[in-house]
């Protein structure tokens, strides 16, 4: 078993076109570290120089925006689905 991450279009060139990729469960920060190891360059697209989420990236674990949870410390459980979604939409 594992968790999964949904990859938005702008990042799919890094995942070889894959829209969803498996990851090991753990804190969101560890999930992103693993993603960057598997798909080099992905981390810097999601995180800024200080290691925080970029201001135009929303990350969800299940149905919830991680900013309503524990941010990068949010636990990604076995079987959970993480979504990386561009923030710029709507209005």
């Amino acid at each position: 078993m594992s968790a999964s991450v949904r990859i938005p279009t702008p990042l799919r060139p890094l995942t070889g076109g894959a829209a969803e990729v498996p990851v090991a469960p753990g804190p969101l920060s560890a999930v992103l570290t693993e993603l960057d190891a598997s798909y080099p360059g992905l981390g810097e697209r999601v995180l800024d120089e200080s290691g925080a989420l970029r201001r135009f990236v929303n990350v969800y674990v299940g149905d919830d925006d991680v900013r309503f949870l524990s941010g990068l410390d949010t636990e990604v459980a076995e079987g959970a689905s993480v979504s990386i979604v561009p923030a710029v939409a709507g209005g």
């Binding site: 060139p13 829209a19 697209r45 561009p86």
Partner: protein
């Protein structure tokens, strides 16, 4: 005689964060940094006379828009009302209401949808889609009907009944989602990746947002080609506020108005105030909130243009503030009772915020001020229905009429 100006040449979509350029297609997010893309134009010139000889619609400003008017219900060039009664009630000297409830589907959203639908046709799409708090849903469904396109409109299931009916009547696909607007928006952002649809406020958002500029151009033209000193704008995503600022700067840059300076004020409700909260706290970005309250058309807890709206309010010497639901209802009633204009909840938010900022001395009562009423009160009857009703109910007789004291 009317003549529609040729639209200018769109040169690229440019990231507002990192400046990367992309071909002008159906895309809205920078692949490098996730920043929003905005339309870049080749240099052009335009005169007041050319604009004035155009149609009595937003398309008289085609010179500033990213496409030709392929889908047009007649949005824009709504009335600018001199609001002396409201001004007197608020102790102001020169107040105007730009009444965008007069648009074809009764909100300013017809401006953005006319541009987005036109661009969608130009790009070869046959399905229009959107996430909406109601007004956009009305407008997308209506424009799709007119253009012979298919529409798929997604809204939160708890919207006002008025906004459901006024979308459903156009016979398009209306999807009620059991969630907040932010939930609906996230869903659309995810499905837009995998569908060949023109989501007006997702993959066509750079073009769509350009339509809002026409509100700013019209205000200046209708004031006699001058900028107001203050403008009060309702804030949901923050896009409208940033585009009104863009419009004023465009007019100055093209020599169409004098650079007299202006301040932009943003209005939110206390139930959904991420931009006002960030303004008050001096933050550069917004902390998302879970939206509550009666101002559902402004219920975006995670505003895409929040950082830019903050930048505009600060740069121009304006502010972003929020008001309670009680103040919103009082604002709707005040506008109706003084000017005969029945605005929706967003209009009430804007009137109430103007009143609050005046009371706090943060807005000047003596200079030309324009208030944007972006929608129609008939769509949000639920908000005021508990507060107004018949003065008296009587039998149909002269005696009953007199007994009720109505002959006095």
């Amino acid at each position: 005689m009317t003549a529609t100006l040729d639209p200018p040449r769109v040169t690229s979509l440019r990231c507002r964060e990192c400046g990367a350029d992309y071909p002008a297609g159906p895309t809205h997010v920078c692949e490098r940094c996730f920043g929003p893309l905005a339309v870049s134009y080749a240099p052009f010139t335009v005169t007041r006379e050319e604009i004035e000889s155009g149609p009595a619609s937003m398309w008289r400003y085609a010179a500033f828009l990213p496409c030709a008017p392929r889908v047009d219900l007649g949005a824009g060039f709504t009335r600018l009302v001199r609001a002396d009664n409201l001004a007197r009630a608020l102790g102001m000297r020169d107040l105007w209401v730009k009444d965008d409830s007069g648009n074809p589907t009764h909100s300013f959203k017809d401006r953005v949808v006319s541009v987005a639908a036109s661009k969608a046709v130009e790009l070869g799409f046959t399905t229009l889609a959107c996430a909406s708090t109601g007004n956009l849903a009305n407008s997308v469904a209506a424009h799709a009907a007119r253009a012979g396109l298919r529409a798929v409109v997604l809204v939160p299931s708890d919207l006002e009944a008025g906004k459901i009916v006024t979308t459903a009547v156009y016979g398009q696909t209306l999807v009620a989602v059991d969630g907040s607007y932010d939930d609906v928006n996230r869903l659309c952002a995810e499905v837009a990746d995998d569908l060949p649809w023109a989501f007006v406020n997702v993959n066509l958002r750079p073009y769509y947002a350009e339509g809002s500029k026409t509100l700013g151009y019209e205000v200046a033209e209708q004031l006699g080609w001058r900028l107001p000193r203050q403008v009060v704008v309702p804030v949901a995503s923050g896009s409208l506020l940033t585009k009104v600022d863009r419009a004023f700067r465009d007019l100055v840059a093209h020599g169409l108005v004098d650079d007299t300076g202006y301040a932009v004020y943003g209005a939110q409700s206390a139930g959904c105030n991420p931009v006002a909260d960030a303004f008050a706290n001096g933050w550069e970005t917004c902390r998302p909130v879970r939206a509550t309250g009666i101002a559902k058309s402004l219920a975006i807890g995670n505003p895409a243009d929040g950082p830019y709206a903050l930048e505009v309010a600060r740069r121009t010497g304006g502010a972003v503030a929020d008001v309670s639901d009680d103040e919103v209802v009082a604002g709707i009633r005040l506008l109706a009772e003084t000017e005969g204009i029945f605005g929706e909840t967003a209009g009430g938010v804007t009137v109430a915020t103007l009143r609050r900022l005046l009371g706090e001395g943060r807005l000047d009562a003596d200079v030309t001020t324009v208030l944007l009423n972006t929608g129609e009160g008939l769509k949000t009857l639920d908000a005021v229905a508990p507060h107004v009703g018949p003065t008296v109910t009587i039998e149909p007789s002269l005696a009953a009429f007199r007994k009720a004291g109505l002959g006095a």
